[in-house]
Symmetry: C2
Subunit: 470 residues, 2 copies
């Protein structure tokens, strides 16, 4: 792989062998070294080749995590946290081998505080499991990255998704967390107060650190009352620019949209074919409104007027749950729709985020670049945030196609950075985006490296990801 | 002072003298050493005695900041950033002397990006100056800590205020920032994308670090469309608990309140006397709603129903700007009202934040403690966040009164921590709250110290604040 920044990390063979022996004494059957299991723990939806850990520990308690960290620290052996394996940039690869620590067994919902609108969970709880658990409380956790990811993994990658425009990202919705640090000490980054000015924001430092500073063993998350009413709407636009203009006007006028998603023409075509819909094959905005019945009606009406002003057509507003679900299911199935449209190929979603004023230009240039390079890669975006995905389809065995796709992805990241954006809005850095960190952050990359060295001097926590130490 | 944690820091006399000499060559008249000016730059609204810097540099450009940092770093001399001097916990004191860097001259509004709902400013711009500048754009910056503080200072202390319940705090509203680090390098923590998963969150690390990691020289802030309609409401309650219960129900039901403030009985009495109002002298909630005219009407109606259910009386809803302003002016004048109610004394506001389910209990115990210690200290709170202030009035020359007040403040911080809260919701740590950091953060305090050492190994950036290094 020319472009994935796979750091040349030496394997500490002796340390790994010793650590596994000691871990086996402690964990017995909860330590596995079978090939298939190790492969599964390095596999993610990425074009980056897998790099297997040497063993997998199935942690069930915080003490299991501490013991694993203690042993790995003693032997200077890498430790790579693993949730549901839905990371997109090689986050669970083991470039220097080491121990994958599977946190799915830590799946308790510790406490729901309905009055405080918060919940404390273990890291292996998935967002769907949490929302199932909350169903009878009238509360929900909104962050939805698409995959049914673990909440620990979502915090570690600072995930977001379709409704970040209204509810924020994991950055905004983790109240505090507990992490096992590289020296096996346990840090609780805060209580349950909604806000605090008490010192450095360790919560936000660990959220998004992708397991390179510590392993999250508990999270307190914000909850929200389930809105009394929800409705969905769609509108088609002659071009991406008109759709973006409508979004900008709607944001400026303060319509509190819960979701506003853009699909480009190719995306709509793929979704139509897959979900048996007949939406006009031109750029589409798909929206959701939350509030009281009167408020969602007003929001939809106001948005409809803005859409019309910007050249939108076919504005349709649906309030019935089944209609709303049908539309949003089509959106959520977009990944599968895109894969189905490119038989024999895999879809590799990449993501960037730019100021919304630059979004139309960024999408248009990216569409052109994809086409000019004879690739298929529909664009779908969380347009209220300026965040979009190009899901480039390719056969990883086709070296030429892969090289063209990588070049397109690289230009996309550079394009976003040139527009005052970021190389990743929500997927994270992992190995895949590491090479952009110095371009994006300049001297800030050195500050990150200084923090990593101060907290993890032996570089045992998910080495080869996010920061570059050399 | 028994309780203020004034670290024993040695003065580097030789370094300070040399640094001042070199700074004078560079800055000429922009460097001042007069007693009155130095006193003014150490003075804040706090019971902590002033500790003067040895000189004040008036910076006008980022290059001025860099040059000051370079010279101070060369001579290992402390550098203390200064905005409007409204910090409450000794944040601008110079416990080891050194150079106060006054950033009020850096007051340019660099760029308004109306389409992206963001603005880039220099740190000396005050929140009122920003909102005056934005007036014709239809946009505003919501964070309002009461004082007309500088935006750099607000970011440095992670300030918030009355409308954080709707718009968040400085944590949520700084998109990115530029800081001069202790080695005089310049770090830009991000672009203008709304969200990013690209590495450690340096923005949130520097927000709230109170000048101990770097000096903010530019900020990009989120803006919001001015709501089409705003209205205010008040309701009285038989006790603090009923008022808190109404708040909890309103939050759970998703009423998007822009402000919800609690005044205890003594607070209402002080405000009545000062602002010539005749509100019932019992616990009061004061609210503001933002939205469309129909939406604010619905919000007020829904809140009115909840208030009645919780025993609230005298619910009054006002939409006229002058009525709204009259109510909110009374709230904003509360500090002066409290001072006026205690002639010959100063008011020292302290703040804590707890989960809202514990708020009533925390307020009631604090009221009792204040009374039992023969002190006067009305309580006013940002109740939607669980954040409240006790403004204890005292004569600092009265050693006995001061000791009783300090003991009350200490018990308040400990009470908040015991309730899973924080020792400061929005005022910051400075010197005044430093002794609670280990209690609140445990091993997290060591992580903060490790970060401080890694970034500022010579401890020149606002030493003696926030973190304890020994």
């Amino acid at each position: 792989m020319a472009l994935a920044d796979l750091e040349k990390l030496a394997r500490n063979e002796e340390g790994i062998a010793s650590a596994i022996a000691v871990l086996r004494q402690y964990f017995g059957e909860k330590l596995k070294t079978g090939q298939a299991l190790r492969e599964q723990h390095a596999h993610t939806t990425t074009y980056i080749p897998s790099q297997l850990p040497d063993a997998v520990v199935f942690a069930e308690t915080q003490e299991d995590v501490r013991e694993t960290v203690r042993i790995c620290a003693d032997h200077r052996v890498p430790i790579i946290p693993f949730g549901t394996g839905t990371s997109l940039e090689g986050g669970v690869n083991a470039p220097a081998g080491g121990i994958s620590i599977d946190l799915n067994g830590m799946d308790h919902i510790v406490a729901v505080h309905a009055e405080d609108l918060d919940v404390t969970v273990q890291p292996g709880v998935t967002r769907q499991a949490l929302n199932d658990h909350l169903r009878d409380t009238g509360l929900f956790f909104p962050i939805d990255p698409g995959a049914n990811a673990s909440l620990g993994g979502m915090a570690a990658t600072r995930a977001s998704g379709t409704n970040a425009v209204r509810y924020g990202t994991m950055r905004d919705n983790v109240v505090s967390l507990t992490a096992v640090m590289p020296d096996a000490s346990v840090v609780r980054t805060g209580g349950r107060a909604r806000k605090s000015s008490a010192g450095y924001d360790l919560t936000r430092l660990i959220v998004g650190s992708e397991g390179t500073l510590g392993i999250i063993t508990e999270l307190t998350l914000r909850l929200y009352g389930i809105p009394e009413a929800m409705s969905a709407a769609i509108a088609s636009f002659p071009d991406v620019e008109s759709a973006c203009n409508a979004t900008i006007l709607a944001m400026q006028s303060g319509i509190p949209m819960a979701r506003i998603e853009l699909m480009d023409t190719e995306g709509v075509a793929a979704v139509n074919a897959y979900s048996k819909l007949d939406m006009p094959e031109q750029p589409l905005l798909l929206l959701e409104f939350h509030g009281s019945p009167a408020s969602v009606a007003e929001q939809a009406e106001n948005f409809g007027a803005i859409a019309a002003e910007c050249g939108g057509t076919g504005f349709e507003w649906v309030t019935k749950t089944e209609d709303r679900n049908r539309l949003w299911k089509a959106r959520h199935d977009a990944y599968w729709a895109i894969k189905a449209a490119a038989p024999g190929k895999d879809a590799f979603p990449t993501d960037v985020c730019v100021p919304i004023s630059r979004l139309a230009e960024c999408v248009a240039e990216t569409e052109r670049d994809i086409k000019e390079n004879r690739l298929y890669g529909p664009i779908i975006g969380h347009v209220g945030d300026g965040n979009f995905h190009a899901s480039i389809c390719l056969d990883p065995a086709d070296a030429d196609e892969l090289a063209r796709a990588e070049a397109v992805m690289e230009r996309l990241a550079e394009r976003a950075l040139a527009m005052e954006g970021t190389c990743t809005g929500e997927h994270g850095v992992g190995q895949g985006k590491r090479r952009y960190m110095r371009i994006e952050h300049g001297t800030g990359a050195e500050v990150m490296a200084a923090i990593k060295r101060a907290i993890d001097p032996d570089n045992i926590m998910n080495p080869g990801k996010v920061v570059t130490l050399s």
